[in-house]
């Protein structure tokens, strides 16, 4: 199997989807001629033509509204929003239209679109090239939300997302677009939505994470292992639908849970996860469920490394749940 980075894996999924299904189209700001600011659509316009891969004006509401119309008609649009930070001019079309179309029509119309968008910090991008808004979309019912953490999952999940009959937000961890590498099959394949993966098995504490933060958790887990603490690292991969079974099973085994995300703490997806875990496994808990997250501020520029949940902070979090004693 060839080695690919995230961008190559995503590009490969798009290429297969475009080749296999006439209904698939890819569009957005600078995705066509230029091939995308991160090169994820590089070469696709040349290969599939301007009717299948094309540029749009700078109007996110237009990009997503167009995709809604196409999807309702029966196409499989895969629009790109250049950065997740710029998805908000299109928020109404996502929240009030894409998410509700199947429901409000009683199933007569559906909205099978996939919105690809790079998210997350750590690239010196400041306030507007760093946000992690996944929780906003998770709360909006009618949307699926996917965040891959490695090239192989990225390809398989994107393929599954495009095949899915409902709207999917596909958040791509741009910090590891090139850094995350791995073997990826040349041919098309699906990683099913709704299934978490045990990224590392362990017995003392469960760490829940997704996307770029997973790698920081892995670093922390390696360091903790050396110090004698065994972490089970669960890569959620799909946030909606959530694989509650895998999560709860792991926490029942370890008795401790640390949740890690880049987004600010308050009302982030970590809150939902903690609530869900204690609902299902309260009596198995040896310590409060702890969240290691971005702080409750906009995303900083100069201070981003202080802000992001670093391996050191994750380690400190794990250590604190390990040393917790009931009052």
């Amino acid at each position: 199997m060839p080695e690919m980075n995230m961008i190559q894996a995503i590009s490969s999924a798009l290429r297969h989807a475009l080749a296999a299904d006439e209904r698939v189209v890819v569009f957005g700001e600078d995705v066509g001629k230029f091939g995308g600011v991160f090169r994820a659509t590089d070469g696709l316009q040349a290969e599939f033509g301007e009717d299948r891969v094309f540029d749009t004006p700078l109007a996110e509401g237009g990009i997503i509204g167009t995709a809604v119309g196409m999807a309702a008609y029966g196409m499989r649009p895969v629009p790109e929003i250049q950065f997740a930070d710029f998805i908000f001019p299109g928020f109404d079309q996502i929240v009030n239209e894409a998410a509700k179309l199947r429901y409000r029509s009683g199933g007569q119309y559906t909205c099978p679109l996939v919105i690809r968008t790079p998210y997350g910090g750590g690239i010196r991008g400041g306030l507007y090239h760093s946000q992690s808004p996944e929780a906003l979309f998770i709360h909006v019912q009618g949307l699926k939300v996917v965040v891959p953490s490695n090239p192989s999952d990225a390809k398989g999940l994107l393929t599954a997302a495009i095949a899915d009959p409902d709207p999917v937000l596909f958040f791509e961890p741009k910090r590891i677009y090139r850094a995350a590498k791995g073997e990826v099959a040349e041919e098309s394949y699906e990683v099913p939505l709704g299934k978490a993966a045990i990224a590392r098995a362990g017995s003392d504490v469960t760490i829940l994470a997704w996307g770029a933060a997973l790698h920081d958790c892995m670093t922390a887990a390696d360091e903790l292992a050396a110090a004698g603490t065994s972490c089970e690292l669960v890569d959620l991969r799909t946030l909606v639908p959530l694989d509650v079974d895998t999560i709860v099973q792991s926490v029942k085994k370890t008795g401790r849970c640390v949740i890690v995300h880049e987004a600010p703490k308050t009302a982030g997806f970590g809150g939902e996860l903690a609530a869900t875990v204690q609902e299902h496994a309260l009596s198995w808990l040896s310590a409060p469920i702890l969240r290691v997250t971005g702080y409750d501020t906009p995303f900083p520029h100069a201070l981003e490394m202080e802000y992001l949940p670093s391996p050191a902070r994750i380690r400190a979090g794990v250590e604190s749940v390990m040393s917790y004693e009931f009052a």
Partner: protein, 340 residues
């Protein structure tokens, strides 16, 4: 043309490019008026939620519907949503949507005036004003690729023209030269302060025409030309259908009936009375149509009222193609609590 049989489309009887026969126009307008008055009565009686009247815009809808083919998509706002009746939607279906009954094809999911009838290509009506103006660009792109000569028709009011979605929608529609016709119902007074939709269309290089929105036959002719233009690949058109002041929808639209403020001038401009005057129909013939339609409407309402509400068991459906584990869990909990 009015029809109570689903699947038959009003526009197919006369050829689309020939003038709209006066009787067809009259039947359509009268049907919409009767439906509107009936819905208003039902709302006042507490049988349904807020009614969004189309009063005053019946001739516009008659002209638009008659210029469309079965494969064309209609993408109206709530005020224009009874246009489905002119494409052959049955009265029992229509009233089932208004009353939240089991024959509503959209399963009672939405408030009155927000139908979806996919079998007739009546797209799902949303409340947020203007959102379909962008979606039409996507539908139009898909139609262009499909090469079946289909056209998407949006309908909205002056409020829609003020939205951000208006400009993005017109921009994308024009840029991609898609087969779309955007129809806006604006009263003379809506335009006093700022340029109207046709003038705004120029900002996007979008072809625009104006028409008297209270004249069904004029609307039909204008629409037929715009539809032909779209079908033949010449691109989109914006149709500005204007109405005299008494037909204006007040800013607090949706809350008051059109024309209520001034009953004298209303009768002069009322598209129904105007159509009846101009149609050349004998009074007896018109009265016969009225009676026939009235009884069809009464039957439709009675049939809808006799139906049950959509089953509560639908509570967790239509969110996704399949219920997620979270929805399954909530459904189990809900079922368990109902048993207690």
């Amino acid at each position: 043309m009015a029809s109570t049989t689903e699947g038959r489309t009003a526009g197919e009887a006369p050829s689309l490019s020939e003038p709209l026969p006066a009787t067809v126009a009259y039947r359509s307008i009268r049907l919409l008026r009767l439906v509107d008055e009936t819905a208003d009565r039902l709302a006042r009686a507490g049988e349904m939620g807020v009614h969004v009247p189309c009063r005053g815009q019946e001739a516009l809808l008659a002209g638009v519907a008659a210029a469309t083919r079965a494969g064309d998509w209609l993408m109206p706002g709530p005020r224009q949503s009874s246009i489905g009746l002119l494409r052959g939607l049955s009265l029992v279906s229509h009233f089932s949507q208004l009353l939240g009954r089991s024959a509503d094809p959209s399963r009672g999911r939405q408030a009155p005036g927000h139908p979806t009838v996919r079998s007739l290509n009546l797209f799902s009506v949303a409340t947020p004003v203007g959102s379909q103006l962008i979606q039409a660009a996507g539908v139009g792109l898909a139609m262009k690729r499909a090469e079946r000569g289909e056209v998407a028709v949006t309908l909205g009011g002056a409020g829609a023209v003020a939205t951000a979605d208006f400009h993005v929608g017109m921009n994308f529609t024009a840029l991609w030269a898609v087969p779309v016709v955007h129809v806006f119902a604006v009263a003379t007074d809506d335009r006093s302060e700022l340029p109207g939709p046709a003038a705004r269309a120029a900002a996007h290089g979008l072809h625009a025409v104006e028409v008297d929105g209270a004249d069904a036959r004029a609307v039909h002719d204008t629409m037929a030309a715009a539809m032909e233009r779209a079908r033949s690949g010449e691109g989109p058109t914006l149709v500005e259908a204007s109405f005299p002041e008494p037909l204006r929808v007040t800013p607090e639209s949706g809350l008051r009936l059109v024309g209520d403020s001034d009953e004298t001038s209303w009768s002069e401009v009322d598209p129904l009375e105007r159509c009846r005057r101009d149609s050349g129909l004998a009074a007896a013939d018109a009265d016969a149509i009225d009676a026939e339609l009235q009884s069809a409407v009464d039957d439709g309402v009675a049939a809808a009222l006799a139906l049950p509400a959509p089953p509560t068991s639908l509570l967790f459906d239509d969110v996704f193609a399949e219920r997620t584990p979270a929805l399954e869990a909530q459904r189990r909990e809900w079922l368990a609590q109902r048993k207690n």
